[in-house]
């Protein structure tokens, strides 16, 4: 059986599945239940500075996007950081860490942008015996209006400055949690790196309005006839998160900077994908909030099973393996020619591929009166839309044309050699060889 033990910036946990800083990690009661269920670690719900705690809205704080059968695909929240007194949280953190020494316990922090404020709280967290801190530069709502959260995370100079303060004032590992609400994530990770961060974690939630109540003419969740943007998370944000993780992983300026992958992790497979793209572990919030803590059991068994099948004995055997295969568009091989191919045995004749291709793509699928759907190689550009809309997995596949085989669409044989845009005669920047 594969060994799932995880070492993330020196913080050890029995598996790479941590709960992200959020309601599931807001108090001892939840965290103990999570550990009992098998979670490898938690990032405690974000703590603020001492004094009267923040207050949350008292109406609904979540909105949702659904797929078929009301499967929750995306969640949006307007919740703030913990609304419990600082000392209560610290006492509980201490008690949990003592009772569960083998689990990772990281504390998320968000205090005003002064070195004094950070210094003060860091000392108190250190006292709990926690394994590390995560700087919450991500929350896109509420706290950002007060100059914290994503208000910091959107300004690389602030990220660097606060990270540096923290590194100077604690011996604990410092993880910087990034906001996706920026144009280039690398500027944020570089700043964290420069400030001395031990790792970055991402993504926090995405600015969003999930829906509009058409009777009230108001965004949802609706608080007394008004709404505000919230933070979006869950399966729907995974593609955004994966890209940002990959961008950082392959950025020469931050090469080797540990990454904790967050955003839409729902199954072991999602976790494996984040880790293949360079994340050292993953954090989960929405999936736990949707299904409860028990899902970690599927994540553990599924990941172990897959690793066994693949012959990976430890997590590092596959961590980052996909990073070298993330490249720029211009380096993609234009001589890689494929054609869609329909497995007539598997086809259930719904015609979705036909409608999609005929109406919105390249008119490359033919339909006979007896509902046989066949790809016309002379029209197919291999866009993959039919594969994506077909309800039967594996029914439409892409067949690669062998070198020398004639592409029926262009009438030309497929070149054997690699050729990308930088080498293409149509590229104005290319000096085509005579």
């Amino acid at each position: 059986m594969a060994d799932l033990r995880n070492d993330f910036v020196g913080i050890k946990s029995p598996n790479p599945f941590w709960l992200a800083s959020a309601p599931p990690t807001d108090k001892e009661y939840n965290v103990v239940r999570a550990f009992r269920a098998g979670w490898g670690g938690v990032v405690w719900k974000t703590l603020g500075e001492d004094g009267p705690p923040v207050v949350n809205v008292n109406g609904p704080r979540y909105g949702a996007i659904y797929g078929a059968d009301r499967r929750l695909l995306g969640l949006n929240n307007i919740e703030l950081i913990t609304d419990r007194p600082l000392q209560v949280n610290l006492d509980e953190i201490k008690s949990v860490k003592r009772a569960w020494p083998d689990r990772a316990l990281v504390v998320s922090l968000m205090v005003p942008c002064t070195e004094e404020a950070w210094k003060a709280i860091l000392a108190r967290v250190e006292d709990t015996g926690a394994d590390g801190v995560e700087l919450n530069f991500g929350c896109p709502h509420g706290m950002s209006e007060r100059g914290m959260g994503s208000a910091v995370g959107q300004v690389p100079e602030y990220i660097e400055m606060v990270t540096r303060w923290c590194k100077a004032n604690t011996r604990m590992p410092v993880i910087v949690k990034l906001t996706p609400n920026i144009t280039d994530i690398r500027l944020a990770s570089r700043a964290a790196h420069k400030g001395g961060a031990d790792a970055v974690s991402l993504i926090n939630t995405v600015n969003s309005i999930t829906s509009v109540d058409l009777d009230l003419m108001c965004p949802e969740p609706t608080i007394d006839g008004k709404g505000t943007h919230g933070g979006y998370c869950g399966p729907a944000v995974k593609p955004i998160a994966l890209n940002m993780v990959a961008e950082i992983a392959r950025d020469p300026e931050t090469r080797g900077l540990p990454i904790s992958g967050i955003g839409g992790v729902t199954t072991w497979k999602d976790a494996a994908e984040f880790m293949a793209l360079g994340a050292g572990n993953v954090q989960v919030c929405t999936a736990a909030m949707t299904y409860g803590f028990k899902i970690v059991q599927e994540m553990i068994s599924g990941l172990g099973d897959w690793m066994d099948r693949k012959g990976f004995s430890t997590l590092s055997d596959f961590t980052g393996r996909a990073v070298p295969n993330v490249t720029d568009w211009q380096y993609l091989n234009l001589n890689y020619v494929t054609k869609a191919q329909i497995d007539q045995e598997a086809c259930i004749k719904c015609g979705r591929c036909y409608a999609a291709c005929e109406d919105t793509s390249h008119q490359a699928i033919g339909m006979t009166p007896d509902r046989r759907f066949v790809v016309k190689d002379e029209e197919c550009v291999a866009c993959n839309l039919c594969v994506d809309v077909c309800p039967v997995e594996g029914c439409i596949t892409m067949r690669r044309l062998a070198p020398g085989e004639v592409d029926a669409r262009t009438g030309k044989p497929v070149p054997a050699e690699y050729g990308n845009w930088t080498m293409h005669p149509n590229n104005p920047g290319t000096c085509a060889a005579e």
Binding site: A68, R70, I348, K349, C350, G351, R352, R371, V392
Partner: protein, 446 residues
């Protein structure tokens, strides 16, 4: 002492009052909003969907299901009713397992179709519960059309004509409109007097005057209608029944299944309907199954359907056969009645096994008897009272295209006309299409 299932002879009140209520409850209860949402999510929104092709009224099924899925069941109902004004009844009575659902790609893929019929009911029930009629009439055309027969074909034709602005007189021999929706369909398929509610709702379009108790050939004549109206649509169904031609057919408690069913459908109180202790139903179609199942539900101790050919040749679908079996009806195939035995009233029926030969069905020498105190004949209905002068094709009124008969200005559709299966939905399609043709013809002339 009250009667029980074991009381000999043909008697009423075999069951406790609650048993009638339970036995005749809605066969496929309506979907809740939650169930409808889940069922609708399963539809793939197929291109040129096979289910649409299979629906005799060509309802745009993927569209209406998508409308349900997106929370617009009233829009869904309009999509349905645009094509099939009796979409509510069809949702209850269509043998979907032979029509739309059998070709659903999910039936083909998984053996479990999208529940088209039940979704159709969900949408139409939602709209009809609000009472308002969703269509409006065009400006009056000044044309008058007579429709004879207020079954599904006649109602669909009358509605479409009224919508186009024509004035319609709808005649029916029976005291109530609805045809077999009212007098034939099994009670548990159309509970709560749905047939009358639907007729009333349909008439909400306006422009249709209903004349019940008016029989063609008795109170009105085709010649009279042809001279008084711009067009005539005949939708008189199949009023006759085929004879058994078995010895002893005249004995008491041997009756036509359709009469028994009509009596049952009209009963205020089901416990007043008399049924035998041992019932034998002869036939293999929907009528046979309905008579058998409802006899059982009324408290008969044993009910046996006897059909002369094999199961696969039965007119009743596999699902209907299953329903019968699940209610405890025994189905015997490959046997034909020889004679009905008994002193005055039936006591038993003697059957001979049959065998298929080149020349057709033959009796073998082997016979058996079934105890019976009531026998229902369900071996088919036939055209009765077709006016003189109309060409027939086989045993039905000959038609070409959308229901044109051999007489100018006279159209026919539904069970009485040639072509199509004898189903509610087919009758609706034929009535609608004839109305379109009548409209085109009348307006083309003008």
């Amino acid at each position: 002492m009250a009667n029980t299932q074991l009381t000999p002879g043909v008697v009423s009140g075999r069951l406790a009052p609650e048993a009638y209520r339970d036995n005749f409850a809605d066969k496929a209860p309506p979907l809740t909003a939650h169930e409808a949402a889940i069922a609708a999510d399963r539809c793939y929104f197929c291109h040129d969907a096979p289910c649409v092709t299979a629906c005799p009224t060509s309802i745009d099924i993927p569209l209406f299901i998508r409308e349900i899925a997106t929370g617009a069941p009233r829009a869904a109902a309009r999509t349905i009713l645009d094509q099939n004004i009796l979409g509510g009844m069809c949702a209850r009575v269509c043998p979907t397992e032979q029509l739309c659902e059998v070709v659903c790609v999910r039936e083909v893929a998984e053996g479990r179709p999208v529940e088209i019929g039940r979704l159709q009911r969900y949408a139409t029930d939602t709209l009809m519960a609000e009472g308002a009629h969703p269509f409006t009439r065009a400006e009056p055309t000044g044309r008058r059309v007579a429709v004879v027969g207020a079954g599904p074909a006649g109602l669909a034709c009358a509605h479409r004509l009224a919508m186009k602005g024509h004035a319609v007189d709808l005649f029916d021999a029976k005291p109530k409109a609805g045809g077999l929706n009212e007098y034939g369909i099994a009670a548990y398929k159309t509970v709560n007097d749905f047939a009358q509610a639907e007729v009333e709702w349909l008439l909400g379009i306006g422009g249709i005057a209903v004349h019940n108790g008016k029989a063609l050939g008795r109170d009105i004549s085709l010649d009279g209608l042809r001279s008084d109206y711009d067009a005539v649509f005949l939708a008189i169904g199949l009023g006759g029944v085929n004879a058994l031609r078995a010895e002893g057919e005249e004995k008491s408690h041997v009756r036509d299944a359709v009469d028994f069913i009509a009596e049952l459908r009209q009963a205020e109180d089901l416990s007043s309907i008399a049924v035998g202790r041992n019932v034998v139903v002869i036939g293999g179609g929907m009528t046979a199954v309905d008579a058998a199942v409802q006899s059982k539900l009324l408290g008969a101790e044993t009910v046996t359907i006897v059909y002369r050919r094999g199961r696969e040749a039965m007119g009743a679908s596999e699902e209907e056969q299953h329903l019968a079996s699940s209610k405890g009806v025994r189905i015997v195939t490959g046997a034909a009645p020889l004679r009905i035995l008994g002193e005055g009233a039936v006591e038993a029926v003697e059957f001979a096994y049959t065998k298929e030969t080149e020349a057709g069905l033959d009796l073998t020498g082997e016979t058996f008897r079934l105890k019976a105190d009531q026998v229902f004949k369900a071996i088919g209905q036939s055209l009765e009272g077709a006016p003189e002068g109309l060409a027939l094709s086989g045993r039905k009124i000959a038609v070409t295209g959308p229901g044109r008969t051999s007489l100018a200005g006279v159209w026919a559709g539904g069970d009485c006309a040639q072509g199509g299966d004898d189903l509610t939905v087919t009758a609706v399609a034929e009535g609608r299409d004839a109305a379109e043709d009548i409209h085109a013809t009348l307006m083309g002339e003008g």
